[in-house]
C-alpha cells in the first residue's frame, strides 16, 4: 500500500515538474528547432518507412529517411533456391508490380541461358499481363494518393476497377496477387477459355473510367491547389540521386525503357511515352494518368492481335512439361523429375536486364556459376532509387506538403527493403 502511494506521488511530482517546464515560455523573439519522428507507422508512408524531420515551425529543414523495417533477405534466399523456384520470390518484392518482377527475372535468366526462343504468343501474353499489373499499381497509387490529400471518393472508384483486374489475374494464373505467371521459358498456363470476352469487356469500359477519375480530381480546386507547384526538385538533382520512371518523365526526360530498350516485343505495340515538364506532384499525376490510358491501348492491341502458337518455349530441359504429356510420355516424366528435383543448369556468366516497372527502372543483375542455383541475384528496385531523392523534395518545404510529395513518389516499402 505504502509503495503505491510513493509511486503515485513520484508520478505526480514528475507531472508537476513537466507542467512547470511547459509553462516557462521562451524569451520573446527566440525559437527552437523541433525534431519530429514521422513513422514507421504512419498512414501516409504506405508501409513502414520512418522519416526524421527537423522542423522550424511548419518548415522542414532536414529530412532523413530510415529504411530497412521490411528487409526480408529475398536476394539471399534466391541463392538457396533453384532457378525456377526463385520465380515465386520475385513476386514478393513488390506486391503491386509483381508481374514486372517476374518478367525481369525471366528475361535475365533467359539471357543467361542464351539459346532459348520465346514464342511470340508468350511474349504478347507477357506484355498484356505486365500492363494489367501496371494498371493495378497506378490505380492503387491514385486511390491512396488522393486519399492522403483528402479526396476520399476517388479511392472507391479506383479499387472498383482494381478488383476487376485482380479477377483477371486470378483467371489467368490462379492467384490474385502473387501470380508467378511469367516463368523462365514462357508463361505458366494457357490462357483460360473465354478470356477474350472478359478482357474485352474490361478494356472497352476502362478509358471512360479514367475520364471519371480525371473529372473527379481536376474539377476539384483543393486537389489542384495541393498538387500544383508542390514537391519540385531540380532535374539534375533527381538524375544525380538515381530517380527513374514517372518521376523523371514528369520532369521532361524522354526515357521509357519500353521505348528506349524494347524487350518482350514491346516494339510491336503502338503507344506513346508520357512526359510533362512541370516536375511537380500534379505533373506526376498527369503522367501516370496518361500511362493508364496507354496501357489500356496496349492491352487492346494485345487482345485484338494475340498470335496463335505455344505459350512456352520448346525447351524440354528447362520448361516443365504439360500435365497430360507427363502422364503419357516417358521422356516428359523424366524431364519433369529432373527439373523438380535438381533443376536445370544455367551457363556461367552474368546478365543485366532492365524493364520499365510502374515505378521506374527495375533491373536484375543475375550471376551464374554454372550450377542449378543462382549464384547472385541483385535486384535494382525503382523504389530504393527514388526514395533517395526524398530529402531533395521535402527540405525547405512545408510539413503539410510532405504528404503530397511522399505520395507522388509512389514507393512500395517491400520494394525498397527487399
Amino acid at each position: 500500500m505504502r509503495e503505491i502511494t510513493i509511486h503515485t506521488d513520484s508520478i505526480a511530482a514528475t507531472e508537476a515538474a513537466e507542467n512547470t517546464a511547459v509553462m516557462v515560455e521562451p524569451p520573446v523573439g527566440t525559437t527552437r528547432k523541433m525534431i519530429l519522428n514521422m513513422g514507421p507507422q504512419h498512414p501516409s508512408t504506405h508501409g513502414v518507412l520512418r522519416i526524421v524531420l527537423e522542423l522550424d515551425g511548419e518548415t522542414i529543414l532536414k529530412a532523413v529517411p530510415d529504411i530497412g523495417f521490411l528487409h526480408t533477405g529475398i536476394e539471399k534466399e534466391c541463392e538457396a533456391k533453384t532457378w525456377h523456384q526463385a520465380v515465386t520470390l520475385t513476386d514478393r518484392v513488390d506486391y503491386l508490380s509483381n508481374l514486372s518482377n517476374n518478367l525481369v527475372y525471366a528475361l535475365a535468366v533467359e539471357k543467361l541461358i542464351g539459346d532459348i526462343e520465346i514464342p511470340r504468343k508468350a511474349q504478347w501474353l507477357r506484355v498484356m499481363m505486365t500492363e494489367f499489373s501496371r494498371l493495378n499499381s497506378h490505380l492503387v497509387w491514385l486511390g491512396t494518393h488522393a486519399l492522403d490529400i483528402g479526396a476520399m471518393s476517388v479511392f472507391f472508384y479506383c479499387f472498383r476497377e482494381r478488383e476487376d483486374i485482380l479477377r483477371i489475374l486470378e483467371m489467368f494464373s490462379g492467384q490474385r496477387m502473387m501470380t508467378s505467371y511469367i516463368r523462365i521459358g514462357g508463361v505458366a498456363l494457357e490462357p483460360p477459355r473465354g478470356w477474350q470476352q472478359v478482357v474485352g469487356k474490361f478494356i472497352n469500359a476502362f478509358p471512360s473510367k479514367v475520364d471519371e477519375y480525371e473529372e473527379l480530381l481536376d474539377s476539384n480546386p483543393i486537389w489542384l491547389r495541393r498538387t500544383q507547384g508542390v514537391g519540385q526538385a531540380p532535374l539534375e538533382d533527381l538524375l544525380d540521386l538515381g530517380v527513374t520512371g514517372p518521376m523523371i518523365r514528369a520532369a521532361g526526360v524522354k526515357w521509357d525503357i519500353r521505348k528506349n530498350e524494347p524487350y518482350s516485343s514491346y516494339d510491336e505495340f503502338d503507344f506513346e511515352m508520357q512526359t510533362r515538364t512541370e516536375n511537380d506532384v500534379y505533373a506526376r499525376y498527369r503522367v501516370r494518368l496518361g500511362e493508364m490510358r496507354q496501357s489500356a491501348r496496349i492491352i487492346k492491341q494485345a487482345l485484338e492481335g494475340m498470335p496463335e502458337g505455344a505459350y512456352q518455349a520448346d525447351a524440354p530441359k528447362i520448361v516443365l512439361p504439360e500435365r497430360e504429356k507427363m502422364k503419357t510420355q516417358m521422356e516428359a516424366l523424366i524431364y519433369h523429375f529432373k527439373i523438380v528435383t535438381e533443376g536445370f543448369r544455367v551457363p556461367a556468366g552474368e546478365a543485366y536486364q532492365a524493364v520499365e516497372a510502374p515505378r521506374g527502372e527495375i533491373a536484375y543483375y543475375v550471376v551464374s556459376n554454372g550450377t542449378s542455383k543462382p549464384y547472385r541475384v541483385y535486384m535494382r528496385t525503382p523504389s530504393f532509387g527514388n526514395l533517395q531523392a526524398l530529402p531533395a523534395l521535402l527540405e525547405g518545404r512545408l510539413l503539410a506538403d510532405s504528404i503530397a510529395a511522399l505520395g507522388s513518389m509512389d514507393f512500395v516499402l517491400g520494394d525498397v527493403d527487399r
Binding site: 529504411i67 530497412g68 528487409h71 533477405g73 536476394e75 539471399k76 534466399e77 541463392e79 538457396a80 539471357k111 543467361l112 542464351g114 538533382d237 538524375l239 544525380d240 540521386l241 538515381g242 526526360v253 526515357w255 528506349n260 530498350e261 556468366g349 552474368e350 546478365a351 543485366y352 532492365a354 527502372e361 533491373a363 543483375y365 550471376v367 549464384y375 547472385r376 541483385y378 535494382r380 530504393f384 532509387g385 533517395q388 527493403d417 527487399r418
Partner: protein, 162 residues
C-alpha cells in the same frame, strides 16, 4: 590492357588512351560491355565517364562474393548514359584482407545508399563516404548477410531447439 572483344568499344578505347593501364581486363559477355578497373582509380574513372562520356546515371552499385577465391569481392558499378542509351558495367576486385574502396558519392550523390547497402550486406568499406552505417539490417547486427559464409538462416536465432 583492353581485351580483344572490347577493342571496338568507343568508350573503353577512349578511356584506355586517357588513363593507360587503368583497365585491367574486361569482357563483352552476352553483349554487355564490362570493364575491370584498378580499385585505386575508380573515382577518377567515374569522374571521366560522367563528365566526358555522359554517363549521368548511376543505376546501382552492388557486389558479388566469390569466396574462397582471392580477390574475394567484386564491386559492380552499373552505369547508364541517357544521351546515347548505352549501359556500361565497371568491376573492381577486392581481397578480403583489404576490402576497402574509395566512395563515388562525390560524383553521383545517388551512390550514397547503394554503397551503404554493399557495406551492410557484404562488409566492403567505402572511404570518404558521408555516413557509412548499416541501412537495411539493424544497427547492432553482427555479420554481413550476403557473404557466402553467412548461413541462410542466420547465426543468431534458430528454431532447432524449440
Amino acid at each position: 590492357m583492353l581485351p580483344d572483344s572490347l577493342q571496338q568499344h568507343a568508350v573503353a578505347a577512349a578511356l584506355e588512351s586517357r588513363l593507360p593501364g587503368v583497365i585491367t581486363g574486361g569482357h563483352a559477355d552476352r553483349n554487355e560491355p564490362t570493364l575491370f578497373i584498378a580499385p585505386a582509380q575508380i573515382v577518377e574513372v567515374c569522374r571521366i565517364l560522367k563528365n566526358e562520356f555522359s554517363f549521368v546515371r548511376l543505376s546501382a552499385i552492388t557486389a558479388v562474393d566469390w569466396q574462397p577465391a582471392d580477390p574475394r569481392f567484386e564491386v559492380v558499378y552499373l552505369l547508364h548514359s541517357l544521351e546515347r542509351n548505352e549501359r556500361l558495367r565497371l568491376k573492381c576486385w577486392l581481397s578480403e584482407s583489404a576490402c576497402e574502396i574509395d566512395s563515388v558519392t562525390g560524383i553521383w550523390r545517388g551512390a550514397d545508399w547503394y554503397e551503404r547497402e554493399v557495406f551492410d550486406l557484404f562488409g566492403v568499406r567505402f572511404r570518404n563516404h558521408p555516413g557509412l552505417h548499416r541501412i537495411l539490417m539493424p544497427t547492432d547486427w553482427e555479420g554481413h548477410p550476403l557473404r557466402k559464409d553467412y548461413p541462410v538462416h542466420g547465426y543468431k536465432y534458430s528454431y532447432q531447439n524449440e
